[in-house]
Symmetry: C2
Subunit: 243 residues, 2 copies
Amino acid sequence: MATELRIVPLEGIPEVAEGDDVAELVVRVVELEDDDVVVLAQKIVSKAEGRVLRLDAIDPSERALELAGDLDPRRVEAILRESVEIVRVRPPLVIAETRHGFICASAGVDSSNAPEQGMLVLLPEDPDASAARIRERIRELTGRTVGVLVTDSFGRPWRQGTTDVAIGAAGLPVILDLRGRRDRVGYELHATMIAVADEIAGAAELVMGKVEGIPGAVVRGLHLRGEGRARDLAMPAERDLFR
Amino acid sequence: MATELRIVPLEGIPEVAEGDDVAELVVRVVELEDDDVVVLAQKIVSKAEGRVLRLDAIDPSERALELAGDLDPRRVEAILRESVEIVRVRPPLVIAETRHGFICASAGVDSSNAPEQGMLVLLPEDPDASAARIRERIRELTGRTVGVLVTDSFGRPWRQGTTDVAIGAAGLPVILDLRGRRDRVGYELHATMIAVADEIAGAAELVMGKVEGIPGAVVRGLHLRGEGRARDLAMPAERDLFR
Protein backbone atom coordinates (compact mmCIF):
# COMPACT_ATOMS: atom_id res chain seq x y z
CA MET A 1 0.00 0.00 0.00
CA ALA A 2 1.19 3.46 -0.84
CA THR A 3 1.48 5.90 2.00
CA GLU A 4 0.89 9.58 2.28
CA LEU A 5 3.83 11.98 2.43
CA ARG A 6 4.05 14.98 4.72
CA ILE A 7 6.36 17.91 4.17
CA VAL A 8 6.91 19.97 7.29
CA PRO A 9 8.71 23.33 7.08
CA LEU A 10 11.49 23.96 9.60
CA GLU A 11 10.34 27.15 11.25
CA GLY A 12 12.10 29.07 14.00
CA ILE A 13 15.70 28.43 12.99
CA PRO A 14 17.72 31.59 13.61
CA GLU A 15 20.30 33.15 11.27
CA VAL A 16 23.28 30.80 11.24
CA ALA A 17 26.94 31.72 11.73
CA GLU A 18 30.19 29.82 11.29
CA GLY A 19 30.58 27.03 13.80
CA ASP A 20 26.87 26.68 14.56
CA ASP A 21 25.59 23.15 15.08
CA VAL A 22 22.96 22.82 12.34
CA ALA A 23 21.73 19.42 13.59
CA GLU A 24 21.06 20.91 17.01
CA LEU A 25 19.19 23.86 15.51
CA VAL A 26 17.01 21.40 13.57
CA VAL A 27 16.17 19.05 16.43
CA ARG A 28 15.20 22.04 18.58
CA VAL A 29 12.34 22.94 16.22
CA VAL A 30 11.05 19.53 15.11
CA GLU A 31 10.40 16.14 16.69
CA LEU A 32 12.13 13.77 14.26
CA GLU A 33 11.09 10.19 13.55
CA ASP A 34 13.08 7.32 12.10
CA ASP A 35 13.24 7.46 8.27
CA ASP A 36 12.41 11.15 8.10
CA VAL A 37 14.37 12.98 5.43
CA VAL A 38 15.77 16.27 6.73
CA VAL A 39 16.21 18.66 3.80
CA LEU A 40 18.49 21.67 4.35
CA ALA A 41 19.10 24.56 1.99
CA GLN A 42 22.75 24.80 1.03
CA LYS A 43 22.95 28.33 2.44
CA ILE A 44 22.48 27.31 6.07
CA VAL A 45 25.01 24.48 5.76
CA SER A 46 27.57 26.66 3.98
CA LYS A 47 27.31 29.45 6.53
CA ALA A 48 27.72 27.04 9.44
CA GLU A 49 30.83 25.71 7.70
CA GLY A 50 32.22 29.20 7.16
CA ARG A 51 32.02 28.89 3.37
CA VAL A 52 31.68 32.64 3.03
CA LEU A 53 33.94 35.12 1.23
CA ARG A 54 34.23 38.89 1.52
CA LEU A 55 34.14 40.42 -1.98
CA ASP A 56 36.76 43.03 -1.02
CA ALA A 57 39.21 40.29 -0.02
CA ILE A 58 39.20 38.87 -3.57
CA ASP A 59 41.90 39.86 -6.03
CA PRO A 60 40.55 39.06 -9.52
CA SER A 61 42.86 37.17 -11.87
CA GLU A 62 43.41 38.16 -15.47
CA ARG A 63 40.98 35.48 -16.65
CA ALA A 64 38.30 36.85 -14.29
CA LEU A 65 38.82 40.38 -15.62
CA GLU A 66 38.55 39.05 -19.17
CA LEU A 67 35.35 37.07 -18.55
CA ALA A 68 33.67 39.66 -16.35
CA GLY A 69 32.34 42.20 -18.88
CA ASP A 70 29.75 44.14 -16.88
CA LEU A 71 29.95 41.72 -13.97
CA ASP A 72 31.95 42.29 -10.79
CA PRO A 73 35.31 40.65 -11.61
CA ARG A 74 35.77 39.67 -7.96
CA ARG A 75 32.56 37.66 -8.15
CA VAL A 76 33.74 36.06 -11.39
CA GLU A 77 37.04 35.23 -9.70
CA ALA A 78 35.16 33.45 -6.90
CA ILE A 79 33.22 31.48 -9.54
CA LEU A 80 36.43 30.49 -11.33
CA ARG A 81 37.97 29.25 -8.08
CA GLU A 82 34.93 27.07 -7.41
CA SER A 83 34.87 25.64 -10.95
CA VAL A 84 36.65 22.93 -12.86
CA GLU A 85 35.14 24.11 -16.14
CA ILE A 86 33.22 27.09 -17.46
CA VAL A 87 30.48 25.52 -19.58
CA ARG A 88 28.79 28.63 -21.05
CA VAL A 89 28.94 32.39 -20.57
CA ARG A 90 26.12 34.70 -21.51
CA PRO A 91 26.20 37.72 -19.21
CA PRO A 92 25.01 37.85 -16.55
CA LEU A 93 24.92 34.04 -16.69
CA VAL A 94 28.08 32.02 -16.08
CA ILE A 95 27.31 28.29 -16.19
CA ALA A 96 30.09 26.27 -14.62
CA GLU A 97 30.94 22.79 -13.48
CA THR A 98 31.79 22.73 -9.80
CA ARG A 99 34.49 20.60 -8.23
CA HIS A 100 31.74 18.19 -7.16
CA GLY A 101 30.71 17.69 -10.81
CA PHE A 102 27.51 19.75 -10.68
CA ILE A 103 26.73 22.09 -13.55
CA CYS A 104 24.95 25.22 -12.39
CA ALA A 105 24.87 29.00 -12.57
CA SER A 106 27.89 30.72 -11.00
CA ALA A 107 29.25 27.39 -9.70
CA GLY A 108 26.85 27.90 -6.79
CA VAL A 109 28.48 31.17 -5.72
CA ASP A 110 25.74 33.48 -4.50
CA SER A 111 25.29 36.81 -2.80
CA SER A 112 21.63 36.56 -1.77
CA ASN A 113 20.98 35.47 1.80
CA ALA A 114 24.65 36.13 2.61
CA PRO A 115 25.38 37.19 6.18
CA GLU A 116 25.88 40.80 5.07
CA GLN A 117 26.34 42.94 1.96
CA GLY A 118 29.59 42.46 0.10
CA MET A 119 29.72 38.77 0.96
CA LEU A 120 29.45 35.65 -1.16
CA VAL A 121 28.28 32.24 -0.01
CA LEU A 122 29.97 29.23 -1.63
CA LEU A 123 28.70 25.65 -1.83
CA PRO A 124 29.96 23.37 0.94
CA GLU A 125 33.38 21.89 0.21
CA ASP A 126 31.90 18.36 0.20
CA PRO A 127 28.11 18.49 0.57
CA ASP A 128 27.79 14.68 0.84
CA ALA A 129 30.16 14.78 3.80
CA SER A 130 28.19 17.70 5.27
CA ALA A 131 24.99 15.67 5.01
CA ALA A 132 26.67 12.64 6.60
CA ARG A 133 27.99 14.72 9.52
CA ILE A 134 24.60 16.30 10.18
CA ARG A 135 22.98 12.88 9.98
CA GLU A 136 25.40 11.42 12.55
CA ARG A 137 24.93 14.38 14.84
CA ILE A 138 21.12 14.01 14.65
CA ARG A 139 21.51 10.36 15.62
CA GLU A 140 23.71 11.40 18.55
CA LEU A 141 21.23 14.01 19.74
CA THR A 142 17.98 12.09 19.22
CA GLY A 143 18.73 8.42 18.57
CA ARG A 144 16.82 8.77 15.29
CA THR A 145 18.01 7.32 11.99
CA VAL A 146 17.14 9.86 9.32
CA GLY A 147 18.21 10.75 5.81
CA VAL A 148 19.71 14.17 5.15
CA LEU A 149 19.77 16.17 1.92
CA VAL A 150 21.59 19.42 1.26
CA THR A 151 19.85 21.27 -1.59
CA ASP A 152 20.26 24.21 -3.91
CA SER A 153 18.17 25.90 -6.62
CA PHE A 154 19.48 25.02 -10.08
CA GLY A 155 18.33 26.17 -13.48
CA ARG A 156 18.19 23.57 -16.23
CA PRO A 157 18.36 23.55 -20.00
CA TRP A 158 15.13 23.56 -22.00
CA ARG A 159 12.86 24.55 -19.13
CA GLN A 160 12.17 27.89 -17.48
CA GLY A 161 12.73 28.51 -13.81
CA THR A 162 14.74 26.74 -11.15
CA THR A 163 13.96 23.65 -9.14
CA ASP A 164 15.71 22.61 -5.97
CA VAL A 165 17.97 19.60 -6.37
CA ALA A 166 20.16 17.54 -4.06
CA ILE A 167 23.82 18.51 -3.85
CA GLY A 168 24.52 16.47 -0.72
CA ALA A 169 22.95 13.29 0.60
CA ALA A 170 23.33 10.77 3.41
CA GLY A 171 21.24 7.84 4.54
CA LEU A 172 18.98 7.47 1.54
CA PRO A 173 19.26 6.42 -2.11
CA VAL A 174 19.55 9.32 -4.56
CA ILE A 175 18.36 7.22 -7.52
CA LEU A 176 15.61 4.61 -7.39
CA ASP A 177 16.72 1.96 -9.85
CA LEU A 178 13.75 0.14 -11.34
CA ARG A 179 15.60 -1.36 -14.29
CA GLY A 180 14.27 -4.75 -15.15
CA ARG A 181 10.92 -4.15 -13.46
CA ARG A 182 7.96 -4.65 -15.73
CA ASP A 183 4.57 -3.04 -16.12
CA ARG A 184 1.46 -5.18 -16.06
CA VAL A 185 1.68 -5.83 -19.81
CA GLY A 186 5.26 -7.02 -19.47
CA TYR A 187 7.20 -4.05 -20.85
CA GLU A 188 10.13 -2.58 -19.03
CA LEU A 189 9.13 0.69 -17.38
CA HIS A 190 9.59 4.00 -19.15
CA ALA A 191 11.28 5.81 -16.27
CA THR A 192 13.59 3.23 -14.76
CA MET A 193 16.09 5.44 -12.94
CA ILE A 194 14.20 7.95 -10.85
CA ALA A 195 16.18 10.78 -9.27
CA VAL A 196 14.24 10.63 -6.01
CA ALA A 197 16.70 12.86 -4.13
CA ASP A 198 16.02 15.67 -6.60
CA GLU A 199 12.28 15.12 -6.34
CA ILE A 200 12.51 15.25 -2.54
CA ALA A 201 14.59 18.43 -2.78
CA GLY A 202 11.98 20.07 -5.00
CA ALA A 203 9.14 18.92 -2.76
CA ALA A 204 10.84 20.49 0.25
CA GLU A 205 11.37 23.76 -1.63
CA LEU A 206 7.60 24.10 -1.91
CA VAL A 207 7.39 24.83 1.83
CA MET A 208 10.72 26.58 2.25
CA GLY A 209 9.74 29.99 0.92
CA LYS A 210 13.02 31.74 0.40
CA VAL A 211 11.71 35.15 1.38
CA GLU A 212 10.40 34.11 4.77
CA GLY A 213 13.70 32.45 5.58
CA ILE A 214 12.67 28.86 6.19
CA PRO A 215 15.95 27.03 5.60
CA GLY A 216 14.69 23.48 5.45
CA ALA A 217 11.93 20.94 5.74
CA VAL A 218 11.28 17.42 6.92
CA VAL A 219 9.81 14.92 4.46
CA ARG A 220 8.00 12.13 6.31
CA GLY A 221 6.54 8.92 4.94
CA LEU A 222 9.11 7.88 2.33
CA HIS A 223 10.84 5.03 4.15
CA LEU A 224 13.71 4.94 1.71
CA ARG A 225 16.94 3.59 3.14
CA GLY A 226 20.23 3.48 1.35
CA GLU A 227 23.63 5.04 1.08
CA GLY A 228 23.42 7.32 -1.94
CA ARG A 229 25.69 10.28 -2.55
CA ALA A 230 24.40 13.36 -4.37
CA ARG A 231 27.67 13.41 -6.26
CA ASP A 232 26.41 10.34 -8.12
CA LEU A 233 23.57 12.44 -9.57
CA ALA A 234 26.11 14.33 -11.66
CA MET A 235 26.12 12.85 -15.18
CA PRO A 236 29.62 11.73 -16.21
CA ALA A 237 30.81 14.05 -18.99
CA GLU A 238 31.29 11.20 -21.45
CA ARG A 239 27.65 10.13 -21.11
CA ASP A 240 26.31 13.66 -21.35
CA LEU A 241 24.89 14.70 -24.72
CA PHE A 242 24.53 18.35 -23.77
CA ARG A 243 27.74 20.03 -22.73
CA MET B 1 3.23 31.19 8.66
CA ALA B 2 4.34 28.32 6.49
CA THR B 3 2.04 25.37 6.27
CA GLU B 4 2.64 21.71 6.00
CA LEU B 5 2.09 19.93 2.69
CA ARG B 6 0.44 16.55 2.30
CA ILE B 7 0.84 14.33 -0.71
CA VAL B 8 -1.87 11.71 -1.00
CA PRO B 9 -1.58 8.89 -3.56
CA LEU B 10 -4.63 8.19 -5.73
CA GLU B 11 -5.26 4.54 -5.04
CA GLY B 12 -7.97 2.38 -6.50
CA ILE B 13 -8.19 3.91 -9.97
CA PRO B 14 -8.77 1.11 -12.49
CA GLU B 15 -7.04 0.69 -15.86
CA VAL B 16 -8.31 3.49 -18.09
CA ALA B 17 -9.64 3.20 -21.63
CA GLU B 18 -10.51 5.70 -24.35
CA GLY B 19 -13.50 7.80 -23.42
CA ASP B 20 -13.22 7.27 -19.66
CA ASP B 21 -13.97 10.27 -17.46
CA VAL B 22 -10.72 10.77 -15.57
CA ALA B 23 -12.16 13.44 -13.29
CA GLU B 24 -14.89 11.09 -12.21
CA LEU B 25 -12.40 8.29 -11.53
CA VAL B 26 -10.41 10.70 -9.34
CA VAL B 27 -13.28 12.07 -7.28
CA ARG B 28 -14.46 8.54 -6.62
CA VAL B 29 -11.27 7.70 -4.70
CA VAL B 30 -10.48 10.98 -2.91
CA GLU B 31 -12.42 13.69 -1.08
CA LEU B 32 -11.06 16.85 -2.71
CA GLU B 33 -10.76 20.25 -1.01
CA ASP B 34 -10.50 23.71 -2.54
CA ASP B 35 -6.94 24.55 -3.62
CA ASP B 36 -5.85 20.92 -3.80
CA VAL B 37 -3.58 20.20 -6.74
CA VAL B 38 -4.58 17.01 -8.56
CA VAL B 39 -1.53 15.55 -10.25
CA LEU B 40 -2.14 12.98 -13.00
CA ALA B 41 0.43 10.92 -14.85
CA GLN B 42 0.33 11.61 -18.56
CA LYS B 43 -0.39 7.95 -19.28
CA ILE B 44 -3.86 7.95 -17.72
CA VAL B 45 -4.83 11.18 -19.48
CA SER B 46 -3.48 10.02 -22.84
CA LYS B 47 -5.27 6.69 -22.67
CA ALA B 48 -8.58 8.34 -21.76
CA GLU B 49 -8.09 10.62 -24.76
CA GLY B 50 -7.33 7.70 -27.06
CA ARG B 51 -3.78 8.87 -27.72
CA VAL B 52 -2.67 5.33 -28.39
CA LEU B 53 -1.17 3.82 -31.55
CA ARG B 54 -0.81 0.23 -32.68
CA LEU B 55 2.76 -0.39 -33.80
CA ASP B 56 1.59 -2.63 -36.64
CA ALA B 57 -0.54 0.19 -38.05
CA ILE B 58 2.53 2.40 -38.55
CA ASP B 59 4.24 2.55 -41.91
CA PRO B 60 7.77 3.92 -41.31
CA SER B 61 8.94 6.72 -43.57
CA GLU B 62 12.36 6.76 -45.21
CA ARG B 63 13.67 9.15 -42.55
CA ALA B 64 12.49 6.79 -39.80
CA LEU B 65 14.24 3.85 -41.47
CA GLU B 66 17.40 5.94 -41.74
CA LEU B 67 17.37 7.07 -38.10
CA ALA B 68 16.28 3.77 -36.62
CA GLY B 69 19.49 1.72 -36.61
CA ASP B 70 18.71 -1.11 -34.16
CA LEU B 71 15.48 0.52 -33.08
CA ASP B 72 12.03 -0.41 -34.31
CA PRO B 73 11.53 1.95 -37.28
CA ARG B 74 7.79 2.08 -36.58
CA ARG B 75 8.51 3.45 -33.13
CA VAL B 76 10.92 5.99 -34.62
CA GLU B 77 8.23 6.97 -37.12
CA ALA B 78 5.82 7.63 -34.24
CA ILE B 79 8.47 9.79 -32.58
CA LEU B 80 9.05 11.75 -35.77
CA ARG B 81 5.34 12.42 -36.15
CA GLU B 82 5.18 13.77 -32.59
CA SER B 83 8.25 15.99 -33.04
CA VAL B 84 9.03 19.37 -34.51
CA GLU B 85 12.77 18.76 -34.17
CA ILE B 86 15.11 15.89 -33.39
CA VAL B 87 17.60 17.39 -30.93
CA ARG B 88 20.04 14.48 -30.48
CA VAL B 89 20.23 10.82 -31.42
CA ARG B 90 22.34 8.32 -29.56
CA PRO B 91 20.70 4.90 -29.82
CA PRO B 92 18.57 3.89 -28.09
CA LEU B 93 18.04 7.56 -27.11
CA VAL B 94 16.20 9.90 -29.44
CA ILE B 95 15.84 13.34 -27.82
CA ALA B 96 13.20 15.41 -29.57
CA GLU B 97 11.24 18.60 -29.24
CA THR B 98 7.51 17.91 -29.14
CA ARG B 99 4.88 20.04 -30.78
CA HIS B 100 4.21 21.57 -27.36
CA GLY B 101 7.84 22.74 -27.15
CA PHE B 102 9.03 20.17 -24.60
CA ILE B 103 12.37 18.49 -25.14
CA CYS B 104 12.40 14.91 -23.94
CA ALA B 105 13.26 11.33 -24.83
CA SER B 106 11.24 9.87 -27.71
CA ALA B 107 9.01 12.98 -27.86
CA GLY B 108 7.08 11.35 -25.04
CA VAL B 109 6.19 8.27 -27.12
CA ASP B 110 6.25 5.27 -24.81
CA SER B 111 5.42 1.60 -24.78
CA SER B 112 5.45 0.91 -21.03
CA ASN B 113 2.09 0.95 -19.32
CA ALA B 114 0.40 0.82 -22.72
CA PRO B 115 -2.96 -0.93 -22.80
CA GLU B 116 -1.39 -4.00 -24.42
CA GLN B 117 1.78 -5.21 -26.13
CA GLY B 118 2.49 -3.69 -29.49
CA MET B 119 0.96 -0.37 -28.53
CA LEU B 120 2.46 3.06 -28.03
CA VAL B 121 1.09 5.81 -25.83
CA LEU B 122 1.56 9.39 -27.07
CA LEU B 123 1.45 12.61 -25.06
CA PRO B 124 -1.94 14.33 -25.01
CA GLU B 125 -2.51 16.56 -28.03
CA ASP B 126 -2.71 19.66 -25.79
CA PRO B 127 -1.94 18.73 -22.15
CA ASP B 128 -2.81 22.22 -20.86
CA ALA B 129 -6.26 21.85 -22.40
CA SER B 130 -6.53 18.33 -20.92
CA ALA B 131 -5.74 19.74 -17.47
CA ALA B 132 -8.28 22.54 -17.92
CA ARG B 133 -11.00 20.10 -18.99
CA ILE B 134 -10.37 17.80 -16.03
CA ARG B 135 -10.35 20.80 -13.69
CA GLU B 136 -13.73 22.01 -15.01
CA ARG B 137 -15.19 18.54 -14.74
CA ILE B 138 -13.98 18.23 -11.13
CA ARG B 139 -15.66 21.54 -10.35
CA GLU B 140 -18.86 20.25 -11.96
CA LEU B 141 -18.78 17.00 -10.01
CA THR B 142 -17.72 18.35 -6.59
CA GLY B 143 -18.00 22.14 -6.56
CA ARG B 144 -14.30 22.25 -5.63
CA THR B 145 -11.82 24.65 -7.19
CA VAL B 146 -8.59 22.73 -7.63
CA GLY B 147 -5.44 22.95 -9.69
CA VAL B 148 -4.62 20.14 -12.11
CA LEU B 149 -1.25 19.04 -13.43
CA VAL B 150 -0.54 16.45 -16.10
CA THR B 151 2.97 15.07 -15.61
CA ASP B 152 5.58 12.91 -17.26
CA SER B 153 9.04 11.58 -16.36
CA PHE B 154 11.76 13.50 -18.20
CA GLY B 155 15.50 13.04 -18.20
CA ARG B 156 17.63 16.14 -18.11
CA PRO B 157 21.12 17.11 -19.19
CA TRP B 158 23.92 17.00 -16.62
CA ARG B 159 22.06 14.93 -14.04
CA GLN B 160 21.33 11.23 -13.82
CA GLY B 161 17.84 9.85 -13.61
CA THR B 162 14.45 11.24 -14.44
CA THR B 163 12.21 13.54 -12.47
CA ASP B 164 8.54 14.09 -13.09
CA VAL B 165 7.70 17.48 -14.57
CA ALA B 166 4.52 19.26 -15.56
CA ILE B 167 3.45 18.99 -19.20
CA GLY B 168 -0.08 20.29 -18.61
CA ALA B 169 -1.44 22.71 -16.03
CA ALA B 170 -4.66 24.48 -15.09
CA GLY B 171 -5.67 26.60 -12.14
CA LEU B 172 -2.26 27.26 -10.64
CA PRO B 173 0.88 29.20 -11.54
CA VAL B 174 3.64 27.10 -13.10
CA ILE B 175 6.38 29.59 -12.18
CA LEU B 176 6.57 31.54 -8.93
CA ASP B 177 8.06 34.88 -9.92
CA LEU B 178 9.98 36.42 -7.02
CA ARG B 179 11.94 38.90 -9.13
CA GLY B 180 12.50 42.09 -7.24
CA ARG B 181 12.02 40.50 -3.83
CA ARG B 182 14.92 40.98 -1.48
CA ASP B 183 16.55 38.92 1.23
CA ARG B 184 17.02 40.39 4.69
CA VAL B 185 20.34 41.97 3.74
CA GLY B 186 18.77 43.69 0.73
CA TYR B 187 20.03 41.55 -2.13
CA GLU B 188 17.76 40.23 -4.82
CA LEU B 189 17.10 36.55 -4.28
CA HIS B 190 19.25 33.90 -5.93
CA ALA B 191 16.39 31.79 -7.26
CA THR B 192 13.82 34.28 -8.45
CA MET B 193 11.80 32.19 -10.90
CA ILE B 194 10.83 28.95 -9.25
CA ALA B 195 9.30 26.25 -11.43
CA VAL B 196 6.77 25.22 -8.79
CA ALA B 197 4.72 23.11 -11.19
CA ASP B 198 7.75 20.90 -11.84
CA GLU B 199 8.48 20.66 -8.11
CA ILE B 200 4.87 19.65 -7.46
CA ALA B 201 5.08 17.07 -10.26
CA GLY B 202 8.24 15.57 -8.73
CA ALA B 203 6.73 15.59 -5.24
CA ALA B 204 3.69 13.67 -6.51
CA GLU B 205 5.92 11.13 -8.26
CA LEU B 206 7.33 10.16 -4.86
CA VAL B 207 4.01 8.51 -3.94
CA MET B 208 2.98 7.36 -7.40
CA GLY B 209 5.11 4.24 -7.63
CA LYS B 210 5.02 3.29 -11.28
CA VAL B 211 5.09 -0.41 -10.64
CA GLU B 212 2.09 -0.48 -8.35
CA GLY B 213 0.06 1.51 -10.85
CA ILE B 214 -0.87 4.61 -8.86
CA PRO B 215 -1.59 7.08 -11.64
CA GLY B 216 -1.73 10.28 -9.62
CA ALA B 217 -1.69 12.11 -6.32
CA VAL B 218 -3.26 15.04 -4.56
CA VAL B 219 -0.99 17.75 -3.16
CA ARG B 220 -2.71 19.60 -0.34
CA GLY B 221 -1.61 22.73 1.50
CA LEU B 222 -0.09 24.83 -1.27
CA HIS B 223 -2.81 27.44 -1.77
CA LEU B 224 -1.38 28.65 -5.04
CA ARG B 225 -3.91 30.16 -7.41
CA GLY B 226 -3.19 31.33 -10.90
CA GLU B 227 -3.62 30.56 -14.53
CA GLY B 228 -0.31 29.07 -15.61
CA ARG B 229 0.16 26.85 -18.63
CA ALA B 230 2.80 24.12 -18.59
CA ARG B 231 3.64 25.14 -22.14
CA ASP B 232 5.19 28.29 -20.65
CA LEU B 233 7.74 26.12 -18.85
CA ALA B 234 9.35 25.31 -22.20
CA MET B 235 12.37 27.57 -22.70
CA PRO B 236 12.14 29.53 -25.95
CA ALA B 237 14.84 28.22 -28.31
CA GLU B 238 16.47 31.64 -28.65
CA ARG B 239 17.01 31.88 -24.89
CA ASP B 240 18.29 28.33 -24.55
CA LEU B 241 22.05 27.92 -24.27
CA PHE B 242 21.93 24.14 -24.60
CA ARG B 243 20.35 22.90 -27.79
